[in-house]
């Protein structure tokens, strides 16, 4: 009976079965044996990776927003599109609702998630605990479902295929910048393990309290 060691107990989020995940080492992964749901993965270097991916990702996001993304040329006339313009044009064409959603899903939410992951992982690496880290972490977990970076990138590829035959489409610097951003974003979020993160935060809070 694992009753004395409740701190290491976790309930499967999709079928509620209890597991003791105390004795796990770097690189090990736990899944529920009944329903197959992923439980946790232990990585000693999780925060260091999260920090580096977030820094690199934020730089790529800035690149992705500041240069031409795609350019389109037909009969000698050229039009250039930047990433913020995807939202801007929708707004100008009288669809502010859609414009707001697109901007949030592809720029603001992923940017905010990455920025907050950078702040949190830095605090974690420096072994500092602040009370605001708890609500900020909650915010990150709530926001991360609504970041649609990779979906947008697939959308870009589909659009390329759709209009590729109509005219010449050239990919700009931002296209590659945003592509790198989406890979880095996925990697950074991938380092965020719910169970390990909160256990670590608990430990830090206790350490701080003891001091």
């Amino acid at each position: 009976m694992p009753s004395e060691n409740d701190a290491n107990l976790v309930a499967c989020p999709s079928c509620d079965l209890l597991y003791d995940v105390g004795d796990m080492h770097h690189g090990e992964k736990a899944s529920c044996s009944r329903c197959g749901c992923f439980l946790t993965r232990v990585r000693d270097d999780g925060f260091a990776k999260m920090q580096s991916y977030s820094i690199a990702g934020l730089i790529c996001l800035v690149i992705g927003c500041s240069f031409p993304f795609l350019s389109f040329e037909s009969s000698g006339i050229e039009s250039i599109m930047t990433l913020p313009q995807t939202a801007q044009q929708l707004y100008d064409q009288g669809r502010p609702d859609l414009s707001f959603l697109v901007a949030a899903f592809i720029i603001f939410i992923p940017g905010a998630v990455l920025f907050l992951l950078l702040v949190l992982s830095t605090c974690m690496l420096r072994q500092k605990f602040y009370q605001w880290m708890i609500p900020v972490t909650r915010l990150v977990f709530h926001m991360q479902n609504w970041a649609m970076v990779e979906v947008f990138f697939i959308g870009v590829l589909v659009s390329l295929v759709k209009i590729g035959h109509m005219a010449t489409v050239v990919m700009g610097i931002s296209f590659w910048g945003y592509g790198a951003f989406s890979l880095l974003f996925i990697s950074a979020v991938g380092c965020l393990d719910r169970l390990q993160y909160w256990n670590e935060l608990d430990q830090l809070a206790r350490l701080q309290h003891a001091r």
């Binding site: 976790v10 309930a11 999709s14 609702d97 759709k162 909160w198």
Partner: protein, 204 residues
């Protein structure tokens, strides 16, 4: 070895930080989220959201998703119309990709969630593992149908040759974005643990 569930020990697992706490608490002692043994009114909420999404799905398919203005003549295109056009042009693989992403995925997700609600409501204990996998699939593909909305956003911003060729966003794009978001929330409000609760009742 089917072990114990958290509920059988009167422990509630926080959906945000996975902390186990006494089920009589209303807030997670670690992160402060609302704490429930099971998500409250999970079936009713999911069903209500599914109905909303299904209603939104009608304008999303009937209204034009984008309007192409070429040399002053404008052509409306609906989601299905776009697929048919691509087939006519002979680009079967692209037509297939768009058909899967914008017709099959959202439909499949709606049907899967309706089925899950029905099977739980009707108390069918069959194959909970398969139904859990089905649920996880519906949750996973959730945001991928947003591809269509993004394609519209990109084409509107990119194809902007005034007087020659302009693409404008249609009303269906908003409705379609609504369908995707509402089904995402619907999937989130469904609690897969109730599938297993019934199984345990049968076992006992």
């Amino acid at each position: 070895m089917p072990g114990e569930t958290a509920a059988s020990r009167n422990l509630a697992s926080c959906h945000l930080c996975l902390k186990l706490a006494d089920a009589s608490l209303h807030q997670c002692p670690r992160c402060g989220e609302d704490l429930h043994l099971r998500k409250s009114n999970s079936l009713q909420r999911t069903l209500a959201l599914l109905v909303t999404a299904s209603i939104l799905y009608i304008p999303a398919n009937i209204l034009p998703i984008m309007v192409t203005d070429q040399f002053g003549t404008s052509t409306d295109s609906t989601i299905l119309g776009g697929v048919v056009l691509l087939i006519d042009m002979g680009s079967i693989p692209i037509a297939a990709v768009i058909f899967i992403a914008s017709v099959m995925v959202p439909m499949g997700k709606l049907i899967a969630l309706y089925y899950l609600c029905w099977s739980v409501g009707a108390g069918r204990p069959a194959s909970p593992r398969q139904r859990t996998i089905m649920y996880r699939g519906a949750e996973l593909i959730g945001k991928w149908s947003m591809v269509d909305v993004f394609v519209v956003a990109i084409l509107v911003a990119l194809v902007h040759l005034t007087g020659l060729l302009v693409i404008l966003p249609g009303a269906a794009a908003v409705a379609f974005a609504g369908v995707v978001m509402v089904t995402m929330v619907a999937a989130e409000s469904f609690d897969p643990r109730i599938i297993w609760d019934q199984q345990e009742d049968v076992d006992e």
